[in-house]
């Protein structure tokens, strides 16, 4: 920034530098593990009851993924009960999420009846999620003890769950509810996996040491297929069937804790084929819709692709062949999914990996590359510019830090000695088992607000010299129960809260109290919740965006809807309103950026030029969405945006790069003349110094704050992976 200043306004060449404050936050989001990885089901079930946090805190691994072919969306559940929805059509953007809950460890996740999402977990409840309002529609106890598995019938109208007590229960899915229909023959041990025959007449259920095949009509078990416990000539105590898949030709594929993938004939109940693929558990299986390929995930972090391949080139006889192994995980692959064009896997190491099947991909585009999604696609950090404070949001607490300072100066690349180190001011723990949905600190630093799924909290902070005192604002109004997004106005006099009913509340903050000013109701007929908010620095305009509908702009002074930005196909990932001009800058998940003038109610000239020329192809191929946009107070031409792997200063006064120019051109050498500098310069000035970058903002004209989250730290907090001996094998 400072250098740009120097180049444009003060060509004196003095060694003005910018001071950047940088901190690595300890954890971007702290999730409590619900299950010890690789624990036998029995152990974890016992541990569940205690309800207390066990062991070291760690990031939440992925427990289940469920792919919905109809909407091309992926539901992902984590071990802390969080459920995330990724839109695979929109560059794998995480468009929705449901906060976790300490007692809700999801063990199974499935889509049914088209777009309805269900989960079941060890608390014995079946939960349906409301994808519009982004809350839990209902939770229903199945009365079978912890639920280990769930499967929706091929028609989508029935739901099957497998319970701890060995029962398989069938539920009818009716509008807005599910209804218990009947129990199948009770088995002697817990049902860990379930799969429907595509015709819906039979099911396969994996238990411990055996697989049962049930007739759906009668509910009785017609076959019981015993699985060999032996593993490499050593008899293991038990063989757990982690996954089953029922194919339309009657074949049942099972994966188990002895590292086997086995093919069974369900008509005769006999073993047809056995593949020993791992020295550890094979924990998950997913079959493609065409039943010509499937994928399994192992505890060694490997996934294997199996394909139905002709025995010889001419014959029609086909057999299952293990074709490709992939190692994208360091830890257990707890779950896999098979989309028409990709293999999706997730596990304890918290990464969601989407591996495209190259033979199904025609051209090199966004979908042709391997995607590893590690960080949430939303902002978990807010900052108070005035007091130089950073508020970090974790799953069950908030941390407030005051940035340090220095008196030294230096040149590019120097790390300056600190005259004052960063202070940890506050550690605010939530009450109750629910995870924090969102949080915010006011720009003046004297207010903190956060929300869980059922409660809203507002705190007043008082600073006296070095000490700090916290005072909760009590008596929150009844309508302020849960918020999806919280925002303070620039002067910290107003609080904007997006509730999950689609309404936006405006609250005036006074010294120690507050007053409800207005509620913007959603347009009639829509119940979609607003996930992103932006307020103009002058406090006149408020922009709000939902998960799919367009961006609405409200006039805060007159308390009415000002305009709606034309709808765009891809979800909004970040919003901000520029000072003075009141231009609304919108970033979408397909990496497009629009600038919309709120007073003129139209796209700005610059935005039109950008759209006409198009973004650089490398810009459009970036991996992660833009999660934050900010502006330079003195330089209206600058827009600062960042994603997880870079930050970029967009200088609107410079020409746009075309596909022939180098998009990423680091600082040109200083010995180049100004002419060359100017010729090679273009509007996108990208820096990849800090990554993974969770947050970046401008504190003042010459100070940037960046928050990094090194991957090593996340990995260090994970349980150690299965150790593979390097030598002497």
């Amino acid at each position: 920034m400072a250098a740009a200043e120097r180049g444009a306004a003060r060509p004196t060449g003095d060694n003005r530098t910018s001071r950047r404050r940088r901190r690595r936050c300890r954890e971007h989001s702290l999730r409590t593990s619900g299950l010890a990885p690789r624990a036998l089901p029995g152990q974890s079930a016992r541990a569940r009851g205690s309800g207390a946090e066990r062991g070291p805190r760690r990031s939440a691994g992925i427990r289940c993924v469920a792919y919905n072919n109809q909407s091309n969306r992926l539901a992902v559940s984590r071990t802390d009960g969080t459920v995330e929805i990724y839109n695979l059509s929109a560059n794998y953007f995480q468009e929705k999420f449901f906060p976790g809950h300490e007692s809700r460890a999801t063990e199974a996740l499935c889509w049914a009846k088209g777009q309805r999402l269900f989960s079941a977990g060890l608390n014995g409840e079946i939960i349906e999620y409301d994808l519009q309002a982004l809350n839990i529609k209902y939770a229903m106890d199945a009365f079978g003890g912890p639920i280990w598995s769930m499967a929706a019938s091929p028609s989508g109208s029935q739901l099957l769950i497998g319970c701890e007590d060995g029962s398989v229960k069938l539920f009818q899915i009716i509008p807005d509810k599910i209804q218990f229909e009947r129990n199948f023959d009770r088995q002697k041990s817990r049902i860990l996996s379930l799969s429907w025959h595509p015709s819906g007449t039979h099911i396969a259920a994996g238990s411990i040491d055996y697989i049962s095949v049930f007739d759906v009509k009668s509910g009785s078990a017609i076959h019981k297929m015993l699985v060999d416990r032996q593993y490499m000539n050593v008899s293991k105590r038990k063989c757990i069937i982690w996954g089953v898949a029922f194919l339309s030709d009657g074949t049942v594929i099972s994966v188990d804790s002895a590292g086997k993938v086995q093919f069974w004939d369900s008509a005769t109940g006999t073993l047809v084929k056995n593949h020993l693929i791992a020295n550890a558990d094979v924990q998950s299986i997913a079959v493609s819709d065409q039943e010509d390929s499937f994928v399994v995930g192992t505890a060694e972090g490997t996934i294997f692709h199996f394909q139905l391949v002709s025995v010889t080139s001419s014959s029609s006889e086909k057999q299952w062949v293990r074709t490709k192994p992939f190692q994208h995980h360091t830890h257990d692959v707890r779950t896999v999914a098979h989309s028409p064009t990709a293999l999706i896997s997730g596990g304890t190491d918290t990464h969601l990996v989407i591996r495209p099947l190259m033979e199904k991909v025609e051209v090199k585009n966004y979908d042709a590359a391997l995607r590893k999604i590690t960080f949430p696609h939303r902002r978990l950090i807010s900052c108070s510019k005035k007091r130089q404070l950073l508020l970090f949001q974790f799953s069950h607490h908030l941390d407030l830090w005051r940035l340090g300072s220095t008196v030294a100066t230096g040149k590019h690349g120097d790390t300056l000695p600190l005259s004052k180190d960063a202070d940890h001011l506050l550690h605010l723990k939530t009450k109750g088992p629910e995870n924090i949905i969102c949080s915010c600190i006011s720009p003046c630093g004297s207010w903190i607000a956060y929300s869980t799924a059922s409660r809203f909290f507002l705190y007043r902070l008082n600073y006296e010299h070095d000490s700090i005192s916290l005072q909760r604002v009590s008596k929150m109004p009844a309508f302020l129960r849960s918020a999806l997004q919280i925002l303070f106005s620039e002067d910290s006099t107003k609080l904007f809260v997006a509730s999950n009913q689609g309404s936006l509340h405006v609250i005036r903050l006074l010294e120690g109290s507050f007053k409800h000013l207005h509620t913007f109701q959603p347009q009639s007929g829509t119940v979609e919740s607003m996930c992103l908010l932006a307020v103009s620095p002058d406090g006149n305009w408020l922009a709000a965006s939902g998960t799919s509908a367009g961006v609405h702009v409200y006039n805060v002074k007159r308390l009415k809807l000002h305009c709606t930005v034309p709808a765009y196909n891809f979800p909004v990932t970040a919003l901000a309103i520029a000072p003075n001009t009141n231009n609304l800058v919108i970033a979408h998940s397909d990496q497009q950026i629009f600038e919309y003038s709120i007073p003129d109610k139209q796209y700005t000239e610059w935005s039109r030029t950008v759209q006409k020329q198009g973004f650089h192809h490398l810009w459009l191929q970036r991996d992660t969405p833009i999660t934050h946009i900010s502006f330079h107070p003195k330089r209206p031409m600058y827009i600062l945006v960042h994603d997880a792997y870079m930050f970029c200063i967009i200088d609107k006064s410079l020409p746009l790069p075309n596909d022939k120019t180098l998009l990423y051109n680091p600082l040109p050498p200083t010995n180049e003349s100004d002419v060359i500098r100017r010729r090679t310069a273009h509007a996108f000035k990208i820096s990849k110094i800090y990554k993974p970058l969770l947050f970046m903002d401008l504190l003042d004209e010459r100070t940037l704050v960046a928050v990094e989250r090194p991957l090593d730290d996340i990995i260090a907090q994970l349980p150690p992976p299965i150790k593979k001996k390097k030598f002497g094998t």
Binding site: A3, T17, R24, T312, V363, G404, I649, D651, F727, G728
Partner: protein, 717 residues
């Protein structure tokens, strides 16, 4: 890839084309403008890009144009002949052909040729050729007769070869074809008789020709539907004398054999020809582009309204009469690429849609690649001739070779085989080679004296054979104790059954050194240490820890005691126990693929002393390995340490009880024991080091973590 673009018709009005179609389409001096002469009285000048006529000229009622109008590129005038003998010259401004320059000649004109860079030439029906200038100076001059009485000119073409005009014309007489090449500058006329080869009865229906430095390549489309090529030298070796040229098959059955008319071909470029005609009997006529190099059909376009069997190609446009209308089909041929020829579409390089590199696709990779080539629209086996002078029957070369194998002598087979291998490889090359090997072996079975060793060696070295393609080969070699061939097979075949590998091992171990000395064995895997093993003792390296193992310092005291008095023991173990040739053969075994389960039972059959010998050799290799830090053996393709280890384990597993009982193996077992012990030591040390490194890494991480917060200076743009 060759591509035909959207066709368009030049005029909305039907041309006055007779039953034989048009007289001709000729270039004018302006690109994009063409003179079209119909078979009646009219010449029309078309601008192709505008698809409209620019001018039209007709001769008087009663007169008839007999030769297509051409443009004199030197003057820009147009020339036409009507009533066989009357020449008319005019230019764009002229309106009435009656009033333009006229010259009446003394003989009948067959064609006027005009190309860029030279004056037009007039070819008379009697075969004489005359420059236009000379002719106009004296129109009534006597024209000599060149060709014999009943000869009729069938086709003619005019080229410029190094600025020398060359005219070729083909005549026919009683089903025989003759080619005349007239060098216009030197006035040399050479005559060639075209030999049709076996297809005596076929009638040539269409000709086309291209020219390079030395030859005119004359392509002809015969009535049997095949395209033949004849190479006619431009500079005759023996002018004046009639010579014979043969034709060779280029493409087989490109059009239906019984198509009477409507068949034409034209050369587009070096590798592509356009063919007009029905591809199958009773099918509609098609314009097809064939690649003669790859023998593939590139593109084909159906012309349902029928054609006149005429095809002209100028610039990038193909002209033909489609129904009643003159149709132009633009043709483009981009540079052929392998990917293009194999049918993989090349994506244009616009951003966002970069072409993908090719991935192995399990679902289609099994031999489907070949099928796709064979399943060209009409399954034709096409093969271009190599030799120009001999007309061979069109049996595939492999078949021919197989028949040769059945009867001919060893020597002859070898020569034929060499010839065959020199030909470019077809996609099914490996199966063909397999068939040949099986053919050779089949003859050997019936005729035990016949052992075509050289041919077999040659075939193995094609690198395409595998055990399953020629199952009998190694058995034969085993029977003949042909160690050289066995070594070659072990090196080349990826899929030798373990039983055969073991049989090879047995032979290698038991074969006498004197026999081996005579055999020609590939020594490259032992070359680097063969001298050392033969002559001198390896230097003792007691000071250097060999892979952490020093036999002298080993703490296996009890066993050492027995051995310590014999100081030469260590020396003995460092001597190669086998001669280099045997070592090379054993290395081939070590490097071959196997599966333990299947190999073990066969290893049990090997006599104990051979086992000991092999173990000694393996131990020697191990010691050689541990001499250097990378734990590799010198030489080209030596066995790796892992292979050596695995074989030691295998041998001991299979024969432990036997080996233990043999007194001479005792010392070896002791050293092996020590060596295993040392290996365990190393592994445990390595594991310790690994753990220590991990701890160090953790420590350094923690160190980094302490710097959780920093202020840095950053100059931004």
């Amino acid at each position: 890839m060759a591509a035909l673009e959207e066709e368009f018709t030049l005029s909305a009005v039907p041309l006055g084309a007779g039953p034989d179609g048009l007289l001709g389409v000729e270039q004018s001096d302006k690109t994009d403008q063409f003179l079209v002469t119909d078979s009646g009285r009219t010449v029309i000048l078309y601008k192709v890009s505008d698809q409209k006529p620019l001018g039209s000229w007709s001769v008087k009622q009663g007169q008839i144009i007999t030769c297509p109008a051409v443009c004199n590129f030197q003057t820009g005038e147009y020339i036409v002949v009507h009533d066989h003998k009357v020449l008319r010259l005019w230019n764009n401004e002229d309106v009435n052909l009656d009033k333009v320059f006229k010259a009446t000649l003394s003989a009948e004109v067959y064609r006027i040729h005009s190309i860029q860079g030279t004056e037009p030439l007039v070819l008379f029906k009697e075969g004489a050729v005359c420059g236009l200038e000379a002719l106009l100076a004296e129109p009534q001059q006597k024209i000599e007769t060149v060709i014999s009485d009943e000869e009729v000119i069938k086709w003619t073409k005019f080229f410029m070869v190094f600025r020398h005009p060359v005219l070729i014309f083909i005549t026919e007489k009683h089903g025989n074809y003759f080619a005349y090449v007239q060098m216009f500058n030197s006035r040399i006329l050479s005559k060639y008789t075209l030999l049709l080869g076996q297809e005596e009865k076929s009638v040539i229906q269409s000709f086309t020709a291209s020219v390079d430095r030395k030859f005119i390549s004359l392509m002809s489309l015969s009535s049997d539907g095949c395209i033949y090529e004849t190479l006619i030298p431009i500079h005759p070796s023996d002018p004046g004398k009639s010579q014979k040229v043969v034709r060779s098959l280029v493409l087989k059955t490109v059009v239906s054999g019984n198509a009477r008319n409507g068949v034409a071909l034209t050369i587009l470029d070096q590798d592509h020809i356009a063919v007009l005609g029905p591809p199958l009997p009773a099918s509609k006529e098609c314009l097809s582009i064939w690649n003669t190099k790859f023998q593939t059909l590139q593109i084909s376009k159906e012309l349902p309204q029928g054609t006149s069997g005429q095809l002209w190609y100028y610039g990038e446009n193909l002209f033909m009469l489609h129904g009643k209308f003159l149709t132009v089909i633009p043709y483009k041929c981009e540079v052929s690429s392998l990917a293009g020829a194999l049918g993989k579409l090349k994506h244009s390089q616009d951003p966002g849609t970069h072409s993908m590199s090719h991935f192995v696709n399990w679902e289609t990779s099994q031999g489907h690649g070949f099928e796709s080539q064979n399943s060209e629209p009409s399954k034709r086996i096409l093969r271009r001739r190599k030799s120009e002078t001999s007309v061979e029957p069109e049996v595939p070369a492999s078949k021919q070779l197989l028949s040769t194998i059945k009867k001919d002598s060893e020597k002859h087979i070898e020569v034929e085989l060499r010839k065959f291998l020199a030909i470019k490889r077809t996609p099914d090359f490996h199966t063909v080679i397999g068939d040949i090997v099986m053919g050779l072996l089949g003859r050997w079975k019936t005729e035990p004296s016949f052992y075509p060793r050289n041919s077999l060696m040659q075939l193995i070295q094609t690198h395409v054979l595998s055990y399953s393609l020629c199952p009998g080969l190694m058995e034969v070699a085993l029977e003949k104790t042909d160690v050289q061939m066995l070594q070659l097979c072990l090196q080349q075949f990826p899929d030798i059954p373990e039983a055969v590998t073991c049989a090879c091992l047995k032979i290698f171990l038991s074969i006498g050194d004197d026999i081996l000395q005579k055999a020609d064995v590939n020594m490259e895997s032992v070359s680097a240490y063969s001298d050392a093993v033969q002559d001198e003792h390896m230097e003792e390296q007691s000071e250097i820890l060999q892979n952490g193992f020093n036999p002298e310092e080993d703490n296996c005291d009890t066993c050492d005691k027995e051995l310590s008095e014999k100081s030469q023991d260590t020396l003995e173990t460092t001597l190669c126990p086998v001669i280099p040739k045997k070592a090379a053969l054993l290395n081939a075994i070590l490097r071959s693929a196997y599966s333990e389960t299947f190999l073990l039972p066969h290893l049990k059959d090997i006599p104990a002393q051979h086992i000991t010998l092999f173990l000694q050799y393996l131990y020697f290799l191990y010691l050689k390995c541990s001499e250097n830090a990378t734990m590799t053996l010198p030489g080209i393709h030596p066995p790796t340490l892992n292979q050596i280890m695995d074989w030691i384990c295998l041998l001991l597993d299979a024969n432990f009880t036997v080996v233990v009982m043999i007194p001479e193996a005792k010392r070896l077992l002791l050293s092996l024991y020590k060596f295993v012990k040392s290996q365990i030591c190393i592994c445990s040390e390595l594991n310790k080091i690994e753990v220590s490194f991990r701890e160090l890494q953790k420590l350094s991480q923690e160190k980094n973590n302490r710097e959780l917060y920093s202020i840095e200076v950053l100059e931004l743009f």
